[in-house]
Amino acid sequence: MTESSTDDRGAARGGPLRTLWDAVVRFVGDALVLTLWVVFLTLVFLETAWPRWAFYGLLLGGVAVYVSITVPWIRGRSTSGR
């Protein structure tokens, strides 16, 4: 969020292939992390018998936090042009 005054994503820097590759990596990475998150929460709730609303609250809250945390990373990587 801090260094995104100019919204220049990968397209301008690395070409369409680079953009596609970044998108695939991001997609697979998201799927992996989010799957682990669901499995982890499921195991925690099996172990604790916490209520159902807490499960869905944490599940979706975690997603929101995950996305908001990773946005600056993605932007940072794009702007630094690596």
């Binding site: 799957t35 998150w37 669901v38 929460l41 499921t42 099996l46 159902r52 599940l59």
Partner: protein, 390 residues
């Protein structure tokens, strides 16, 4: 149901986008919505509702297969017990997830086990073992699990099992005049020694077998046809027979009797236990929930008891494959070389005073710091895969 949640999610995210993060662009918003839908989909695939909204009340489970006639090994009938439905839902879901983990087998996965909670807790946990080589996965899980006990175990790789020569004399069969060989005593393979298990039965052929650990036939590529010998106190050793089937994954070698001695269902304990049947997977979960102990009689360490540490465990510590349906119990001092092939058992609460039900085999033990248990295939798993029963 998930549509309902998605609608709520969209609402929540719209608020988030408008209120908290005015900088969030359409792409990130879309990513959040897609991710939210994805996690709900995965949760639904895992069937989290099964245990999150489990009914109260009780459900019947089959805890054991027990002989109605103690002298007829093929007169097995199911024994049931009513258990809390919420506990049942948690345990069956933990068993399912344990199976998923083993199937996916992510980097560094060394095994896992289900540890049912007590009936009052209505919980179950899955204990996952992760190799120190799979550092990234381990760190990731430890990071997430920081502060919550999710049993992220670290297994330190050790080159060799540090077993010295056995310090005690093995338990040797004393009296075979009746024509049957007792179990829980030492038996010899051409290359090693192990403990003779109680008779195993094949319900299809109604044949009874001598059984011991397959790995006791080390040094030969295929143990089939190798002889098994029973040393007898102050007498000549008796030939029990030759290996008919060898199962390296289950670590079980099945020996057809050659006619001199018959396998028996008695275990040579101080009180001479008689095998009356075997526990099911859920029967073992029931034992854990009630904090009951298992016992065993090994040829070297003798009679020991211990707490069950995990059921339906997957172990990938040894060999190149993983072993499923294992029981973890007791401590590493309960087993040494030569005790392999012994069975773990527990008294039959509804049988006669000496009646016991078999839980499974004891084939190996931990040798790394931080954990201490014995493991071996559960009797129910052997029945599932090959049909044999005790």
């Amino acid at each position: 149901m998930s549509g309902d949640y998605s609608a709520r999610l969209v609402q929540r995210l719209t608020n988030l986008r408008d209120g908290l993060e005015p900088g969030m662009d359409r792409r990130e918003f879309l990513r959040t919505v897609v991710s939210g839908g994805y996690v709900l989909g995965v949760a639904s695939y895992l069937g989290v509702e099964d245990f999150l909204s489990a009914d109260e009340g009780e459900v019947p489970i089959v805890t054991a297969l027990v002989r109605s006639d103690p002298d007829d090994p093929f007169s097995l009938e199911e024994r049931t017990r009513d258990v809390p439905a919420e506990w049942y839902a948690a345990v069956t879901k933990a068993l399912e997830i344990n199976e998923y983990l083993a199937t996916v087998g992510m980097t560094g996965y060394l095994g896992s086990a289900v540890v049912p909670g007590s009936y009052s807790s209505q919980t179950a946990s899955v204990s996952v073992g992760i190799s120190s080589e799979g550092r990234s996965t381990r760190e990731m899980i430890e990071e997430i699990a920081d502060g919550i006990s999710i049993n992220a175990e670290t297994i330190v790789e050790v080159e060799e099992m540090e077993d010295g020569p056995p310090s005690t004399q093995p338990r040797v069969a004393t009296n075979v005049d009746s024509g049957v060989a007792p179990s829980g005593v030492v038996c010899e393979t051409p290359s090693s020694m192990a403990t003779l298990a109680p008779a195993l039965y094949d319900p299809n052929t109604e044949q009874s077998y001598f059984v011991t650990a397959e790995h006791a036939f080390e040094g030969v590529s295929d143990p089939v046809g190798e002889p098994l010998v029973l040393p007898i106190d102050s007498a000549e050793p008796a030939q029990l027979g030759a290996v008919e089937y060898a199962y390296p994954v289950e670590d079980v070698a099945v020996v057809t009797p050659n006619g001199d001695l018959e396998p028996s269902s008695t275990i040579d304990t101080p009180s001479s236990a008689r095998v009356r049947g075997q526990y099911t997977r859920l029967g073992l979960a029931d034992l854990v929930a009630r904090d009951e102990y298992l016992e065993k009689v090994g040829a070297l360490t003798g009679h020991t008891t211990g707490r069950i540490q995990g059921i339906d465990a997957v172990t990938c510590f040894t060999d190149t494959f993983c072993r499923r349906g294992q029981i973890r119990w007791g401590g590493e001092m309960d087993l040494t070389d030569g005790d392999s092939g012994s069975v773990s058992f527990h008294e039959d609460p509804q049988g006669a005073a000496d009646d016991v039900l078999v839980a499974g085999f004891n084939n190996a033990r931990t040798w790394w710091p931080g954990q201490s248990y014995v493991w071996g295939i559960g009797a129910y798993k052997l029945t599932e895969t090959h049909g044999y029963h005790f």
